[in-house]
Amino acid sequence: MNTAEEKLKKIASKETSKWVEKAQWRVANENWLDKSAKIALTILRTIREKGLTQKDLAEKLNISPQHINKILKGNENLTLETISKFEIVLCITLMDIPSFQTTIKSVPEGLYVPPAYIKMGLPSQKLSYKEMQEPITCPVGNEDSNRKKAA
């Protein structure tokens, strides 16, 4: 470094900026921060369109204006409960969870299949990727008789 740079170093504060630490945190948490930002923007555009203020929104949701302000910056790790409250009060959809589409084609005779697995797929079945893509259907019978067969 030359003289001017050395002089600059000398007059600089001993305390370093928090930027590096904050930037690294933002990079590590990028995925959910992106979602939080999109949710905040959707809420902000909706309240502008409806002519509401952040204070009105705070009152409707029964939360403090300071908390609303923090959420609308788009850096908050929101709970599903909070997101649902916004959706109800503003009559909008902020998150859309895709429905399960898998159906089971056949089940070995005598095997008891809990109803939840009929929807989600059998956890113990080892299927190739190609096999997993094929639709399977299951003749859903009486749960009690399935259990009796398994016993």
Binding site: R26, V27, L41, L44, R45, L72, K73
Partner: protein, 181 residues
Amino acid sequence: MEIIPIFETQNQALYSVKYPDHEIDEFDWLFDLWQDITYLEVFFNSNKSDLGFFDPISIEDAVMQTRSDAKELQKQILAIKDSDEKNSKFLNSHFIPLDNITYKPDELEKCKAYTSIIKKGWIRLYAIRVPENSYVITGGAIKLTRTMMERQHTQRELQKLNNCMDFLRSQGIFDEAGLKD
């Protein structure tokens, strides 16, 4: 006015100005601001007529584009900080002289930074270069007009650059012969 180190390596250094009435330095504050959706929504709503300077773009897209450009700039600066001899990345490749001043070593220059990868981007970091490889960030802006004089918020950034130059001069940083604005 204080000069706060962002990072320092053997070959280069990035600093930021911290103003007495601000809790954090300008560089840190700008990245907070460019991630703040409320600020960006209000900014683009107030400056929507300037959005026509670029290709037509909605306020929603302008907000998300700004946030995305800030994220990209953030990654690039972190990469410069973490670069080593084998994979050198330099601040000099990010900063170009302001007002198209001809580059001359050992001169005090007003410089601006922009992300070279992001084309048509409007976020700007403004800095004073202390030759050879040190930069002092004085501020930044979302620049939607061709020149900085056209809007108050960008005019203010020019003033901040001048104030910082005066401060650095007063600290004897530039007392060599040949110093020019």
